[in-house]
Symmetry: C2
Subunit: 524 residues, 2 copies
């Protein structure tokens, strides 16, 4: 065991776990793909972000064209791609008497190849915007771009050649990468509903493009292993690609690097060396426990369960230590729990629910491990915390759970309390019905939170409403042009971004891939 | 023999010559170099281009600093460098949760790291401006920039990191490259004049930085083998590094690729494959002959002389074919002969002089080869062309040579007629004296033309004036901050550029390296 001294905390490294995770590093599946057409983008108020793509000509026309300084074109690869771009560049005219200077801009959505990145003013780093400006000194040349991109569209701009030559582009390809193996994909057989089939397909594409060396949250941004995303990806994976070793790898990675208290970080950096981010979130740490539970359910892998159970139980202990004297999770002003992207959302009640939910999963694992003391102990805790919850967070008059000092009523609180099973099925059903009737102001902004809404509906047996939400929400994204599901989608504000600009939003995001899980698991 | 079908002409390839040239490809000498200091640049009307560099701190202070989004600094390597840049980049703060986006701008002169390249509006390609904008996805990272740069200053701009981390830079190095071997440099012994010694030193540095796989015209721009530059570099080389095989290689390269008439191109592209540019210049083609002459004088390499003599003689024949019925080189409106960068300069008379000069060198080679027919034939031609020149281009009243339909009197015409020896020494001396007395309006813009002015002065024995011109002109560049001599320098307009912007001028340029030749050859 090593101690990693990071900037602002100690990290306790478990070499055995690191070694196990490393041994599970997947070989990536590669496949060459070509652009389908060139397009133009035009302003259109009816399209998302105000831009729509318009077919210009077939991609095969490209090779017969040449371009001079100031010219540009946009290639459309037909759907979302994650991979490496290569292209042949040939000079046309006199021998090239100056370098070629060019820019590539890669976009998952039309807006990214339409509005200049220089106008980006969001608060997270502009370095996520996918563009490369480079010189080519020797022509003809095959250019292999070294960075991995996540895109459908590639804008090519000729910044300068010389008055003596133009350039022509041939053999533009994307070498796609994923650790998902399409040949192992489980077929969808439970439905004839074309809309559901399409949503299932886009979910799988989303999952596939996020499956790399680890489960990434988004291949454009952050390209990182987050516990909240991992939990949902793993659920979708069990129903589809069944690359269970990738889940196992990620669990060992997280378990390898707790802080000095034993808490598991919200996300990890894999390269150049494995380090945990200095972000610790109440709900995400607990999802280590629930993800281990789900993994065991899918695999019955006792060895992994035995290895990781102490870490999983530790997360429960640490979360319980946050309870106040009334048995309620302490709230504070910091970004202590995630739940959803919503500055107005109070996190206390939904976090309390996540704790109850995780304790129940932990108790199930304790039962499997025949750890009677822990089963008993957890039972007492579950009862106590559930009791505290109904005592202090349930508002009998409002018939809703409330959260925080201002007794906020949010969708998130109700949804998580239902998932946690704080009340019985009947009462839960009433809560869900009432939620749709009263529609609290504190809404859901992410597919991540919408997933939990649907899961809650399914738990109370309201399949019809669940399907309707899936069709409205994820189906809405498809109608708005999604090839893969997006990080953010707010039906009442389609330009919503928590980052200050929808240019930086991720349009292939792991936590949005869950319809395939919901559709298959619940046979929708 | 192969026929290369280029865009607008046929090229007759000589595989034997290509093979000989390839076998002479030099190993480059490499040396690691570090920045000396960091600087700031400030507006200063007394400095060239209005910018001067001011010491900020020692370069070793860099490693203890960190930089955030929007910050920048300028490193000074102390003198001119040609080579490859590498640097270590380390994150400071939380683990880097977004790529680093940064820009390097490399400048031979302070102005290049002071004025934004986006304001460049010259007519030659902006792609010559040395800058790289790139992302680093994984930190810490050693970044090895793949392109070769020609620079003294490196501006480093942090375009974006993330709110969670800054970056620090360490081990910034330049791996310099040259085919000049400093250990073989001939010492300067003929003078005690410190100013002349300094000019000799800067000449040699200029030559050294232009000596790569071939003699390049300028390592920043065009990085190309031009015949006019080669001729002068070769002369400087014989007096200094004596890498005569590099001259030989370049002669074979040029000889390998004449057009279908046998004319040698003004310049060659070496990579990705050897091709001649589609520029053919009257004077430059003739310099193949004179460069072969000078090479033989330096080496007595009979094999090369015998190989290349037919091509050398061919250039004379082709030039003679341009004579009109009066025996004068036909003028036209195109860019048919170089002579100097000066839009107002008529090229007819100086080109006529270059022809006579080249014929005399050719005749000398014919004598060495004991080719009596050619010696005799060239004698007749030299007499005829010289006679035509004195008949039609000498203005008895003005006592100057005139050029073109408008009978232009230029410095270039007089200088080249003196070098060609159209008149005897005494009359040539009078012409040179009168030139400095009358100072025609059609001036000289390049060190290339100034070289010929000094050579003409030395040929008429005016050593004092020659030294005075060298000190005023090349010494002037040093006073204006030259570490290597510049492509362009006009004493009366120091911002002069034939390209519409002095940002794009080359500040290490082969044709400016000749003072070392003049100083050593004529023992100044």
């Amino acid at each position: 065991m090593n101690i990693q001294k990071a900037e602002n905390r100690l990290v306790i490294e478990n070499e055995f776990f690191k070694h196990k995770a490393k041994a599970l590093k997947p070989e990536l599946n590669k496949k060459l793909s070509h652009p389908i057409s060139s397009i133009e983008t035009v302003r259109d108020n009816a399209s998302i972000h105000g831009w729509k793509s318009v077919f210009h000509e077939k991609a095969e026309e490209l090779k017969s064209k040449s371009f001079e300084k100031g010219e540009s074109f946009i290639l459309d690869f037909g759907t979302h791609h994650v991979g490496y771009l290569s292209l042949d560049i040939e000079p046309v005219g006199s021998p090239p008497d100056a370098p070629l200077h060019m820019r590539l801009t890669l976009g998952e959505m039309p807006i990214e190849v339409s509005e200049p990145f220089s106008e980006y003013d969001g608060w997270i780093s502009s370095s996520w915007l996918q563009e490369e400006t480079f010189h080519v000194d020797i022509l003809p040349s095959r250019v292999d771009l070294p960075r991995r991109y996540s895109f459908r569209y590639v804008k090519v701009e000729i910044l300068d050649t010389s008055p003596k030559y133009n350039v022509s582009f041939k053999n533009v390809i994307c070498n796609t990468v994923t650790s998902a193996d399409s040949s192992k994909l489980v077929s969808l057989t439970s439905t004839d509903d074309k809309e559901i089939e399409k949503i299932d397909e886009v979910s799988i594409k989303t999952l596939q493009d996020c499956m790399q060396d680890v489960f990434e949250d988004g291949p454009k941004r952050d390209r990182r292993l987050w516990l909240g995303d991992l939990r949902l990806q793993a659920l979708a994976n069990y129903e589809t690609f069944q690359n269970n070793d990738l889940v196992k790898r990620c669990l060992y990675l997280f378990a390898a690097l707790p802080n000095e208290k034993g808490q598991i970080a919200a996300n990890l950096f894999i390269e150049p060396k494995l380090i945990p981010d200095d972000t610790y979130l109440f709900d995400y740490s607990l999802f280590f426990t629930t993800t281990l539970h789900d993994y065991y359910q899918a695999t019955k892998d006792n060895e992994t369960l035995e290895d990781l159970w102490p870490m999983a139980h530790k997360q429960i202990e640490l979360a319980l230590a946050r309870l106040d004297e009334k048995g309620i999770v302490k709230d504070d002003e910091s970004w202590w729990s995630f739940i959803d992207w919503n500055d107005d959302l109070n996190k206390q009640a939904p976090s309390q629910a996540v704790l109850i939910y995780a304790m129940k999963k932990a108790q199930h694992l304790a039962r499997i491990l025949e750890d009677k003391d822990k089963v008993h102990n957890l039972e007492l805790k579950i009862q106590a915390v559930t009791h505290a919850t109904t005592q202090h967070l349930w508002d009998e008059e409002l018939e809703f759970f409330v959260s925080g000092a201002n007794r906020q009523v949010s969708w998130a609180s109700q949804v998580w309390m239902v998932i946690a099973g704080v009340f019985d099925s009947e009462k839960n059903r009433e809560i869900m019905d009432k939620l749709f009737e009263k529609k609290p102001n504190i809404v859901m902004n992410t597919p991540y939170m919408y997933h939990h809404l649907v899961e809650a509906l399914l738990q109370v047996g309201n399949k019809q409403k669940a399907v309707s939400v899936i069709k409205q929400y994820w189906g809405g994204m498809i109608k708005d042009g999604a090839d893969t599901f997006w990080e953010l989608y707010n039906l009442s504000d389609k330009n919503y971004s928590p980052y200050g600009s929808h240019l930086i939003n991720s349009y292939c995001h792991a936590w949005s891939c869950t319809p395939t899980y919901l559709i298959r698991k619940y046979r929708l």
